[in-house]
């Protein structure tokens, strides 16, 4: 359990940022779902609830989602009804239950880059950008790959609208559990992106597989070969939920299934 000396709800992000930078023992609190699962001594817990970061704004070319937006907000949002974004909504709907979805936040998931996250995996193949406070936006994939805990505040994510197709797959032993493996595929103008997460490490691109399948005509043998390449290049590990071999096998099955959905 986290031990907290002081609790602060700043009224804006600038104040929150200032307090965060005052001491290495000050921490941001988002949904708070990990308070019981983390052993940490926090000097000042900075709650972003009052900073105006709970929003979903739709623009002509993009949807912007504030860091404190909950999974339930996304599930209930009309902005996530386009084919590409509906996949995000459907992926989040599968996670545990409504009380959990009401607490888990976009920023609280993406900033720590939780390895089991379904949200990161489903967003990664989309044209999704992360905006940290006082920083320029970076692609989600780049943010995840180069993640360093520089004690910043995630302000919002920006999802550029697209006309392609995508599919998400996850495998979990019960609906209450984290994914044993999850993956997501998106294709637009022949360019295919494949992200595999909960390996159990955080999502990564299957770059060789993406290169192999992009551009050309796709049939069943291409799909099988793509899944084979992805399973070779992705690093899988064993943990309490599943062995490395099991994850590799699941990845092969789910990826072929997802590729068939977007290409056939």
């Amino acid at each position: 359990m986290m031990r907290i000396k002081e609790y602060l709800k700043p009224e804006n992000i600038d104040k929150a940022y200032t307090v965060l930078k005052e001491s290495p023992n000050n921490e941001i609190i988002a949904g708070g779902l990990f308070i019981r699962l983390t052993s940490k001594d926090i000097n000042t817990a900075v709650d972003l609830s009052e900073c105006g970061l709970r929003f979903i704004n739709e623009h002509k070319d993009r949807v912007e989602v504030g860091a404190m937006t909950s999974y339930l907000d996304i599930i209930q949002s009309d902005c996530f009804e386009t084919p590409l974004l509906k996949t995000v909504k459907d992926a989040l709907s599968e996670i545990i239950g409504i009380a959990f979805q009401n607490m888990a936040t976009v920023g609280g998931t993406i900033y720590p880059a939780y390895p089991f996250s379904d949200l990161i995996t489903v967003l990664m193949p989309l044209n999704c950008w992360v905006k940290l406070y006082k920083k320029d936006p970076v692609r989600l994939s780049e943010f995840i790959e180069k993640k360093q805990d520089n004690r910043e505040i995630l302000e919002k994510i920006i999802i550029l609208k697209g006309s392609g197709k995508n599919a998400f797959r996850s495998f979990r032993k019960t609906s209450q559990d984290f994914s044993v493996l999850n993956l997501s595929v998106a294709v637009e103008h022949g360019d295919c992106k494949i992200a595999v997460g909960a390996r159990p490490s955080v999502a990564q691109y299957a770059k060789s597989a993406m290169q192999f399948i992009s551009g050309g005509k796709v049939n069943e043998s291409i799909i099988e070969k793509t899944a084979e390449i992805a399973c070779q290049e992705i690093s899988f590990f064993s943990d309490i939920k599943a062995s490395q071999q099991y994850r590799k096998h699941i990845c092969n099955v789910l990826l072929k299934d997802a590729l068939r959905e977007v290409f056939v």
Binding site: G97, N102, M103
Partner: protein, 150 residues
């Protein structure tokens, strides 16, 4: 620190520690319908309504609830009795430990979602773990209570 919450329709000022969970604070105030289960956001027995929507009070800091309204079974006693008795009469309750959270979820389905579908019911109840009565009987009982065909 002091927080102000509207607990079951009554404004309350509570003296808490910054790391107190809402679950512990609610139980200290006498809301014993809110149960301690897994304490890791998994079992759902600590479910309460925050501004009308379910949350897991075991993983929610009481400090975060400052300025919000919290509803437990104690605050909806009449409807809770009706829901609980209906579920029991359907044979969908056994030891009763998870019943308060099931009542809260059913109350949410009826009062916030309004005309829930079977899919809504499944989605809301999937977070309510029960170790003795099984899930199908509970799902069926809640669906019957809400007038949803199964």
């Amino acid at each position: 620190m002091i927080i102000k919450i509207n607990l079951n329709g009554i404004s309350k000022e509570l003296l808490i520690s910054p790391d107190d969970t809402l679950l512990d604070v609610l139980r200290k105030t006498g809301c014993l319908s809110v149960k301690k289960g897994c304490e890791s956001s998994s079992c759902g027995v600590c479910t309460v309504l925050l501004d009308g929507t379910p949350i897991l009070s075991c993983s929610y800091l009481a400090a975060k609830a400052d300025g919000h309204s919290v509803t437990t079974v104690e605050g909806i006693a009449e409807q809770a009795r009706e829901i609980g008795e209906f579920i029991a009469a359907q044979g969908a309750d056994q030891c009763g430990f998870c019943l308060p959270s099931l009542i809260i979820s059913t109350y949410y389905l009826k009062n916030t979602i309004g005309n829930p579908t079977l899919k809504d019911i499944k989605q809301v109840l999937q977070a309510n773990l029960c170790r003795c009565s099984g899930y199908e009987s509970q799902e069926a009982a809640v669906a019957r209570y809400l007038g949803v065909k199964i």
